[in-house]
């Protein structure tokens, strides 16, 4: 089987995000990058499927900057066979990224039997790429997947919907699977895995190579700024005997007049 995994590189959850100098994007120079956590479930599921289906290959694809290739290296160290990097700025919109991923997958000379991705990226939370890629490749997609089984070309997928209800999809043929937490426990990249990853093929393509141009941009960022700082909370002293009644009246008054919640 030809298994593909689309991964995104996102800022580490502990990174302090700041707008860049002219407010056109976030400042990326000081960011520590990690693989999007939902994509780890995607890589793990791809590796589990590979282990179950002899002769399979796992190809990871990413669109983004070339300075730091953390996400691809992690995927290779976990056990993926090869990687494709479409070199691009980090500020592409979902449509451009999807088109680039589609182009890269088509350019690989392997027809995709299954494509995995995370259900969303934790940086911009757009939740669009898996659906867009599937649409562009004319294949079905199932998102928020928490259960995966595959046998004889048929894929059974469990999808989590509101209220914890589970929908079950049976799909035959190629499918795009957007993975959610709970699907599996992603493995560590072992040290021998890290050493081996260096020797695995990493193909580098440009946006032009995969048929994406500036005209494909659908979303233009008008500006980035930090949310206004929260004003400090108010503290009321009510320890003294008899003070409570007055404080309660004051708090209720403020909730009405200032916070306007009652």
């Amino acid at each position: 089987m030809n298994i593909f995994v689309c991964v995104k590189q996102v800022p580490d959850t502990e990174t302090k995000i700041t707008p860049n100098g002219d407010g056109t994007f976030i400042e990326t120079s000081s960011i520590k990058w990690i693989m999007n956590p939902y994509d780890e479930f995607a890589v793990e599921q791809a590796l589990l499927l590979k282990a179950a289906a002899a002769g399979s290959t796992v190809t990871v694809v990413r669109v983004g900057s070339v300075q730091d290739t953390e996400a691809l290296r992690t995927a290779l160290a976990m056990g993926a066979d090869e990687a494709i990097l479409v070199e691009a700025e980090d500020n592409l919109d979902s449509y451009m990224i999807s088109k680039a991923l589609k182009g890269a997958i088509e350019k690989s000379d392997k027809s995709a039997d299954i494509i995995f991705s995370g259900k969303q990226a934790i940086d911009d939370d757009c939740l669009q790429v898996p659906q867009l890629v599937a649409q562009m490749l004319d294949m079905p997609s199932v998102t928020v997947v928490v259960g995966f089984e595959h046998a004889d070309g048929k894929t059974s997928l469990k999808r989590e919907v509101e209220g914890g209800t589970i929908e079950v999809y049976d799909v035959s043929g190629p499918v795009m699977v957007a993975c959610n937490k709970g699907l599996n426990t992603p493995r560590y990249a072992s040290l021998p895995g890290i050493m081996k990853a260096k020797r695995k093929p990493l193909q580098q393509l440009s946006l032009g190579d995969v048929g994406v141009s500036a005209d494909d941009r659908r979303l233009k960022y008008s500006g980035f700024q930090l949310p206004p700082e929260k004003p400090p909370g108010k503290k009321f002293e009510a320890m003294e005997e008899g003070a409570q009644a007055g404080v309660v009246a004051e708090v209720v008054g403020l909730l009405r007049s200032e916070a306007k919640v009652i």
């Binding site: 290296r73 160290a77 560590y188 072992s190 040290l191 021998p192 890290i194 050493m195 260096k198």
Partner: protein, 379 residues
């Protein structure tokens, strides 16, 4: 050209080992410390990820890490738990003499199994009456024709209760001093090995420490590393490798204590502001950070010297003495910054302070390191 940056692969190794420390070691360290129990599942997982026996060359199935790589791993594992790291590091200490002094046949026979499943090794040098004066060991190795016979007692042996293999130093004749010392490998189950009860220790509680008595233990001739009398040389070379490693564990522990202290100081409010806003605390934190940074630099230089094929005896002792003393001070100050909470077992820094003490003692006390340094600089 001097370069203080880790290479890409080393950064990945560091990240992976720190992930293991944070996810698998730290959440369990207090529990195993209090139970004084070897965390076998965690150790096996560490082995399966390639974090154990980092000194085994690739030709015998190992990962083939440089000494610098091993330091990075040790620092991260010690950050997770000093006790678990001791159990892991003791394996390296015990198999290093084989890597250094063993023949190809011995490496194949003894090292290979360690790469095939999680096996445990114990390094047997110290005796009840010989610690710092290592050349005065009394355990005897006698030639009995077609085999060797071992008699003697070893003390404070890490991993003893679980060991599949013991690397033992003994003497052909105590009168020969250094020249009579030999290194041999003894496999588990040899008749005459008596394993003592676990020692009750101040720190590193989840690591296994016992005495081991050898009574007329017979081992094959081909289990001696090098020639009779090569033992001292092998032991000294082992220490050149293992001292930076122990020093690196001190850096990991100290970094952990510093990180806890920093986080707590920013949280704890006294006199209307976080205590990190008080200059007295800032001075302590700055001092701690200087000690961690300088310790790490010494460790890395001592490891770099080995990787360049140069002698590192002086730097290894400097790293070991400096980093372990620094760790003790940093851990003590972390407890101080936590105040009353720091003294409580509910908070993580008291364990670090207990664990720090041992690093000043094992693998050559801080005083012995100073003797080594003095000998080197006066030579």
């Amino acid at each position: 050209m001097i370069n203080f940056e880790l290479n890409q692969e080393q950064k990945e190794i560091h990240e992976m080992a720190m992930k293991f420390a944070r996810q698998d070691m730290i959440p369990n360290s207090a529990e195993y410390d209090q139970k004084s129990e070897m965390p076998m599942q965690i150790l096996e997982k560490a082995w399966s990820l390639g974090l154990v026996n980092t000194c085994i060359p690739t030709s015998f199935g190992g990962t083939g890490f440089s000494t610098m790589d091993s330091m990075i791993i040790t620092e991260a594992l010690a950050y997770g738990c000093l006790g678990m790291n001791t159990a892991i590091m003791a394996n390296d200490l015990a198999i290093l003499p084989i890597v250094i002094g063993g023949s190809e046949e011995q490496k194949e026979r003894f090292l290979k199994p360690f790469t095939e499943s999680y096996k445990i090794a114990a390094f047997c040098l110290t005796e009840p009456s010989n610690g710092s004066d290592a050349a005065g060991i009394k355990t005897t190795i006698k030639d009995a024709g077609d085999h060797w016979v071992i008699n003697g007692q070893k003390m404070w042996i890490t991993n003893a209760g679980y060991a599949d293999l013991f690397t033992l130093y003994g003497t052909m004749d105590p009168a020969l001093k250094h020249k009579g010392i030999c290194a041999v490998v003894i496999e588990k189950g040899a008749e005459g090995i008596e394993i003592g009860a676990p020692e009750k220790k101040m720190g590193h509680c989840c690591s296994d420490t016992r005495s081991v008595t050898f009574k007329d233990v017979k081992i094959p001739k081909e289990n001696m590393l090098g020639k009779p009398g090569d033992g001292w040389k092998i032991a000294m070379k082992t220490l050149d490798h293992s001292r930076p490693m122990v020093a690196s564990s001190a850096v990991g522990g100290a970094q952990c204590a510093l990180d806890y202290a920093l986080a707590y100081a920013k949280e704890r409010v006294q006199f209307g502001k976080p205590i990190s806003g008080h200059q007295s605390i800032q001075f302590m934190l700055a001092e701690m950070a200087m000690k961690v940074e300088s310790s790490r630099l010494l460790v890395q230089k001592s490891a770099w010297l080995i990787d360049c094929g140069q002698s590192n005896t002086k730097l290894a002792s400097m790293a070991k003495a400096y980093a372990s003393d620094a760790f003790m001070q940093v851990a003590t100050d972390a407890v101080q910054i936590y105040g009353g909470y720091g003294y409580s077992k509910e908070y993580p820094v008291e364990k670090l302070m207990r664990d720090a003490k041992l690093i000043q003692i094992y693998e050559g006390t801080s005083q012995i390191q100073r003797l080594v340094i003095a000998k080197e600089i006066l030579a």
